[in-house]
């Protein structure tokens, strides 16, 4: 089938998944123990008027199905109401914090690719030699290090003891030298494990491709080794890495939750943790929804890119 039909099929599968994601997120508040109102106000004592207002706002007197649809309609227009804990508009709060998380996540992702890809290629090509073993152990160490521990240690060594970086983020706009400098440590913290994963994956993928008959045939044709590796092997070896890219996003979000807290970075991850501890469930719900939708769409994009890269998948 052509690329167009393949994309169409993927889209068709994505729709029920999106429905599932929204339904699951919606049901979060209702799965919480106790009455929905109690859950929403975080089990605090509230006045009767507040309770009535909440019932109205969340349509709690209507059947569940209608509640879901109404909530969904609101969500699509980014209308999440106000947080019962802080009183502030939920979507505005998230909107303020989203760029910060995107900046950190994006930087970490780029770092992961910038380190992981060359390291993976080198490791694959020099298999069996000391460079490969060193790389393998380094990657394992990178994966095994808890990111919160790494963050704390980096913070301690470079900010507290050496004073090279600030401990708290600077009071400056996102796109400024001061902020970029501050982001160095959090980016390293978040990106290390991701880089290690990319490196390992690329290495094993390339080793598998290097055994393939077309590689021997390419050498038999007299192609220079560099062409064989970079043009032929890499293109094939990249495919599993692309597949994993969608998972990488989830991985980075997980990491951001913790890393933002350590560096007091005002992003969505920190907001999520604060909200959990404050029992600010509407905010949690909204954040989880945003994350879920983002990941589903990112995976769809990854699938499409994969189909562009690998002609076999379309048939």
């Amino acid at each position: 089938m052509s690329l167009g039909r393949y994309v169409g099929r993927r889209l068709a599968i994505t729709v029920p998944v999106l429905v599932g994601v929204t339904a699951l997120t919606f049901s979060f508040v209702h799965l919480l123990p106790g009455d929905a109102v109690d859950a929403i106000v975080g089990f605090r004592d509230v006045s009767a008027e507040t309770e009535a207002a909440i019932r109205a706002e969340y349509h709690l007197d209507q059947p569940v199905w209608d509640q879901y649809l109404l909530w969904l309609r609101d969500a699509i227009t980014l209308e999440f109401g106000e947080s019962p804990v802080t009183g502030r508009d939920v979507s505005a709060t998230i909107g303020r914090r989203l760029p910060a998380t995107l900046a950190l996540g994006g930087a970490a992702w780029l770092l992961a690719l910038a380190i992981g890809i060359p390291a993976g290629i080198v490791a694959a090509v020099s298999a069996g030699k000391p460079a490969d073993e060193v790389g393998r152990l380094a990657a394992l160490a990178g994966i095994a290090t808890p990111n919160f521990w790494l963050g704390l240690i980096l913070l301690f060594v470079f900010s507290v003891r050496l004073g090279w970086f600030r401990v708290l983020p600077p009071d400056a706009p996102l796109v400024s030298l001061a902020t970029v400098k501050f982001l160095v440590l959090p980016t390293i913290t978040l990106g290390t494990a991701a880089a290690a994963l990319v490196m390992r994956l690329l290495r094993s993928s390339m080793r598998r491709e290097l055994d393939a008959p077309y590689v021997t045939a390419a050498r038999a044709r007299g192609l220079p080794e560099r062409t064989v590796i970079l043009k032929h092997v890499l293109r094939n070896a990249f495919l599993p890495v692309v597949t994993v890219a969608g998972l990488q996003l989830a991985f980075l979000v997980d990491g951001a939750v913790v890393v933002e807290g350590i560096f007091s970075w005002p992003g969505m991850g920190r907001l999520l943790v604060r909200s959990i501890l404050r029992r600010d469930y509407p905010v949690i719900q909204a954040i989880v929804l945003v994350i879920g939708i983002a990941i589903v769409l990112a995976n769809l994009l990854v699938d499409i890119i994969y189909a562009i890269l690998d002609p076999r998948i379309r048939y």
Partner: protein
């Protein structure tokens, strides 16, 4: 000299005489084999050589034949892998330390049974102010003390219990859910497959930690899960099963098409038996590898939950929770509160990953088959 005349004719060729000579040879080989079996060895090389050779191993034959021997070979290969054995040693040591760190007692109203009386830990991990708080490492307290004056060394030792057991139990539970669901989805296909895979896709949209964070408050009030330990375990299991389901579904899909499964079906073997005896054993290898590596991931997530203050009750000696105080301590310059528990997590996850990689290398069946075939050309 032979009685064979070279020929100068041209036309269709037929060889006469070879077949008879070959028959004779086969007969004499058979009889000399039985003669050898009777006792004396005449010239064993000729007789036995006729029987030795390379057995062509098709994928289906090797899959069914001698699973015990495959395990043996895998174990041998694993043993030769030094880093994997090192990882295994570390895990065993940590497990032993965790078990014998402090007495384990089970008590009801009347009776207290001590399951394990030893205590390697020098101090009671819950005892506060056995020394000045935040004291740096010393001979008496090799890992220093924390903000409440508790001995870090004892707490790290005992903390291993939470970490190791959460890792194993959560992965075990996830396997129990994920493997059957994935196998069913892969084997039966159709709408069952679609339904299960949609559920998997939906759960996959949420990152591990985020989902666990969201589940913890839902599970908290459930009575049997109360203490926090089981809340964390169940949360991790609920988020973890999807990976195995997907993995084994893929494996089952590829195994399902093999000839020996079709043959079993043709013989009328019930589906359940086919899945159990033929499909799952062949598909299980990647799942084992994945599960081992996932113990590490689960531990990292569990400790992250502890670090964030979710999950186990405050004050418990869980490694992640111990690190939660780390930030404030660090800013004061007390590095020891952070380094040691984190180091323990790091060591455990590293060891598990080494073991998982070792299992992966040991169980790589298709790699071996390909190599053998290539060599014998």
């Amino acid at each position: 000299m032979s009685d064979r005349q070279p020929t100068t004719d041209r036309g269709r060729i037929r060889i006469v005489g070879f077949d008879d000579a070959a028959e004779q040879k086969r007969d004499s080989d058979a009889s000399s084999d039985t003669a050898d079996a009777a006792g004396t060895t005449a010239d064993p090389s000729i007789a036995s050589r006729g029987a030795t050779g390379i057995d062509p191993t098709t994928a289906s034959a090797s899959a069914l034949a001698q699973p015990g021997r495959r395990l043996e070979n895998a174990w041998r290969r694993f043993r030769r892998n030094r880093s994997a054995m090192a990882g295994l040693a570390v895990i065993i040591v940590m497990a032993v330390l965790a078990v014998f760190a402090w007495p384990i007692t089970v008590s009801t109203a009347e009776v207290t049974i001590t399951l394990q009386p030893f205590s390697l830990a020098p101090y009671d991990p819950t005892a506060m102010f056995v020394a000045p708080p935040n004291a740096p490492p010393s001979l008496a307290h090799p890992f220093g003390t924390d903000w409440a004056g508790r001995d870090q060394f004892s707490r790290v030792l005992v903390g291993g219990r939470y970490t190791l057991s959460i890792g194993l139990v959560a992965v075990g539970l996830a396997l129990c859910v994920g493997v059957p669901l994935g196998a069913i989805a892969g084997y039966f296909g159709g709408w069952i497959d679609e339904a299960i895979m949609r559920v998997v896709d939906v759960l996959y949209a949420f990152p591990f930690l985020v989902l666990a964070i969201a589940i913890v408050p839902i599970l908290e009030p459930v009575p049997i899960l109360g203490s926090g330990y089981w809340t964390v375990v169940v949360a991790l299991a609920v988020t973890g099963w999807v990976g195995y389901a997907r993995l084994i579904r893929g494996e089952v899909l590829s195994v399902r098409e093999r000839e020996y499964v079709t043959a079993a079906r043709a013989l009328g073997v019930p589906d359940r038996t086919i899945i159990q005896r033929h499909v799952v054993p062949n598909a299980i290898a990647p799942v084992v590898v994945q599960a081992t590596l996932n113990v590490g991931t689960v531990v990292l997530t569990a400790t992250a939950l502890g670090f964030l203050g979710l999950g186990l009750e405050p004050g418990s000696a869980e490694w992640g929770a111990m690190l939660a105080q780390g930030r404030s301590s660090l800013l004061r310059g007390d590095w020891h509160v952070t380094v040691f528990p984190g180091l323990a997590i790091f060591l455990f996850v590293l060891a598990i990953n080494l073991v998982g990689d070792g299992i992966n290398d040991a169980l790589e069946p298709d790699r071996d088959g390909r190599d053998d075939r290539r060599r014998m050309r």
